[in-house]
Amino acid sequence: MTPDTGAFLAEARDWLAAHMPPGPLPSVDTAEGFEWHREWERALAAARLSVVSWPTEYGGRDASLLEWLAFEEAYYAAGGPVRVGQNGLFLLAPTLFAHGTREQRDRLLPPMARADEIWAQAWSEPEAGSDLAAIRSRAVPTDGGWLLSGTKTWSSRAAFADRAFGLFRTDGVGADADGAGGAGGDRHRGLTYLLFGLRDPGVTVRPIRQLGGETGFAEIFLDDVFVPDANVVGAPGDGWRIAMSTASHERGLSLRSPGRFVAAADRLVALWRGVGEPADTATAHRVADAWIGARAYQLHTNATAVRLAEGGTLGTEASMGKVFWSELDIALHETALGLLGPRAELRGERWLEGCLFALAGPIYAGTNEIQRTVIAERVLSLPRASATSPGRSSTSFGRPPASPWAAALHDLLDAADVPAAARSWADGDRSTGLALWGRLAGLGVTALAVPEKWGGLGASATDLATACEELGHHAVPGPVAESLAAVPALLSALAETEGRAVPDEAESPEADDSATDGGVRAPGELPAPGDRADRCGDWLAGLATGDLLATLAMPPRLPLAADAEAAGLVLLAEPDAISAGRAGPRQRSVDPSRSLSVVNGDDVLARNAAAAVARAFDLGALACSAQLLGAARALLEASVRHARVRVQFGQPVGTFQAVKHKLADVVIAIEFARPLLDAAAAAIDRDAPTVPRDVSAAKVACGDAAALAARSALQVHGAIGYTAEHDLSLWLTKVRALAPAWGSQAWHRQRVVTSLALPSTIEPPSVGPCAAAPVTSAPSPDVERDESPWA
């Protein structure tokens, strides 16, 4: 973060703290409330805080996208009112910057920034909702401009706003009843983007009451309304393209910045702390889910912003984000209402008003049904309804490899026949599987978490997560999380003779520096630190080269050690003692390539090593989460491949909308689990105090995404997916085995909840250049607010 950014945000926070209205303003959907909000906008504008991302010449601060996001977080954390000018500021303005003329910008932007002119959006019509291209309102050319006629509807706040922007049909004026006009029946052509005044002659605005009682939107009747040529944006006939670039803004970053949801989630946590019953774990878990969702959306948006700042383009993140935040918003509010109980239905209850507004989320800015179809067709390339023949069967989507090394790992696994290795491992022949491990070691995978001084790479948790995701993606058999993550972490702590790697043990009276090397010790007697360091160092070196595989049990979360028969080292790690040991009889796992065993540990290595055990556990849970995410991706890819080629009822099953929507949901789950995994790895690398919370959030999201991907994959494949012969079973069973490992979903949710009971901080974007100093969140004042607005 630059000093300038820091100064800007500090200034913004100070101003907001000093000028925030003391209580909620009257609803923006009332005449009085609208004007209160306009006054607020004017105050913001006077402080040059109303349009921070605009150029300074128009009243902005030239804030980058990331700076704007940070500003929005501060704004909502401070309890900032709804931005009444949002349609103009976040939809029309970007359009004018991208497609407008200099003259239009000079004329329209300053009054917009000052809220002298507040804009409404005139898109939908009674017969054109989701099917926007079906619009019929016309703009007929006349001397010096155009005459608008027709009806627009669902125009938010048009009853109170000053001006409006909309799409009108300029070619194919004699369009047929279905709105299919233009030469060749292409309804997207011949549309023009025009601006008009809501009090111009010929305009009639009829307010429509919303379900909460306010007149939040309106119908607009246009009867030969004159618009001069200067108020056409872009070229006549090019309106669809221009509007679609706008619509992407509406769905995506601009209209719903994460700040809103992070602030709402914090308020929900505060509510739960205030009135929640400790025994009500169901509600506690819902609170955890709401927090996790808000955090995922925040991280995802920040990562997208970083990508855009580096020159990327906004793709279907907009559609995915829209489905995600709108459904998160409803779930969050319903959880709050559940906590309020009967109070929830009383008018004036802020959470209730919020819930009613949230219900509109899946509808406006493109219904979630439409968004799912967009995701299915554009991200997954599932064929349109008209396809009758199988499509391409190759798939790969999701982000490109993080580095050349990650790409090399992916290629290695792609070329190896991992399913065959997994099957023979399951049959008791581990030779191909272990050979694969050898090649992974050659690439450095087994050395990632081993510190350099013992021959490892000392790589970051982020790199470890990347590797484990690939291993999960290919369903690589063997003790992945144990051998690659948890055991190296544990041994590294034990091998330290400098400093206090195992600090608690310094108080233990049992360490005896005078024990001789190689002397036989009584059971339970600790080795000398130097002795221990040597042994651990040897093991670490073996892990790094791949000569040694290791596994461990960590009761109670991980009561049994996985794949002990493939491991040369078996550990038992409990807070009060870490031991090397032997594995008991092998128990079968649902994953045929996995086995589980009790560990009898009698070769005690250390006592009172709770902190080291906890860190090792979190690294193992991270690795497991990464595997689950990789497996989820593989299951989705398999589903898409199948859906494209499997023909039933004369068409690929991927053309069926129910299949598309089901797989779109998997895309979304994976997309929003990923940033939580990334954040958990980053927290481990920073040794942040939030590691337990972040790792648990990642496990919850990755586990749920994998479970959804698995169920959906089985369903899409039909009966063949149920067979053992089909490779799908390798991933299905691995997900089933890993999901409850390293802590169940319920346990991790509870751990998030427990962490939220501690004083919270809203964290700044943790990726990208805008990592600001932590902002302490004061949870917004709770629910009993009936004060009148500020004077």
Binding site: S130, A344, L356
Partner: protein, 355 residues
Amino acid sequence: MGLTVEQRDLRDAVRGLIAKTDPAVSPWPRLRKEIGVTALAIPERFGGAGAGLAETCVVMEELGRNLTPAPMLGSAVLAAQAVLASGDEAACERLLPAIADGSATAALAWTTPAGRWGTAELGHCARAVERHWQLTGSAHYVLDGATADVLLVAATTPDGTGLFEVDPRQDGVARTPVTTMDASRDLAVVRLADVTGRRIGEDAVAPLAFARDQACIALGAEQVGAAERALELTVAHLLTRVQFGQPLGAFQALQHRAADLHVLVESARSLSRAMAATLTGDPDLGLRAAAVKVYCSETLTRAACEMIQLHGAIGVTWEHQAHRYLKRAHSGRYLFGSPARHLSAISANLIDAPN
């Protein structure tokens, strides 16, 4: 669960009467006078029809369909059943005939703002003064509390819990209607300041629990009716609204959502009907009531939310009726205890109870 011939006739009579009534006029007077809905669950010797909860639920389903405002739940079910269960014959003779013939409505003032509807925490307490009882306190979410002719009050007594009849016209009685999101259900706060009451029966814990459980089952039936109607209206919309050149109902994702909703409504109806057939004296009444309360509340909430979503923007307007179903779902959800509370009761029953 099918209806008997008599129950079907009752349903048809209620549905027909409501359908023929001008929407601007309440069908309630005719429902109680011509069909005698308030008499159904009251024994004949107290002026009732001597039918049971199952018949009451048939009526409740019909009232739910169109969200017809009616004091049925609060008066004929909750209050009347509390009196009946008290075993106080004199009170029954005194109070039930007027409730049965609908000439009087009754309200039961019970809970604190926390809304738990248990007996550990009541809105009022009562102290004995010579041969009278004096009641003080405030009760919330009282169905039809502001307008009821007969006011019953659950109050903590020195020896436990009591049920009291209070003349609402006395000084010291304050009844304040509450503005809720669901305009079709009247709730009030009832405050008593050292007001005289007449005790009904002895210890009131069992009668109150019985009345609450009956009310939960009746409410569940109302929710089923509302959910069914919400689904019907939604399907009708899917068949008529055209976008992208075809009715919305031609889109598979929406077909599947409607199908899922149908399964949900049907299973809620099965549960509701089965539980309504519970015999009096069934020791599992509490468990059954809790199950209905949870499942039917969830069903109506889902149905109402889906109704809004599948209607698109028109579903969030005041003019369209979708929001009324949603608000009814919200108001019923927490009445007589939240779903979470009832789930705890079920799990306590199933998990903690000895084998």
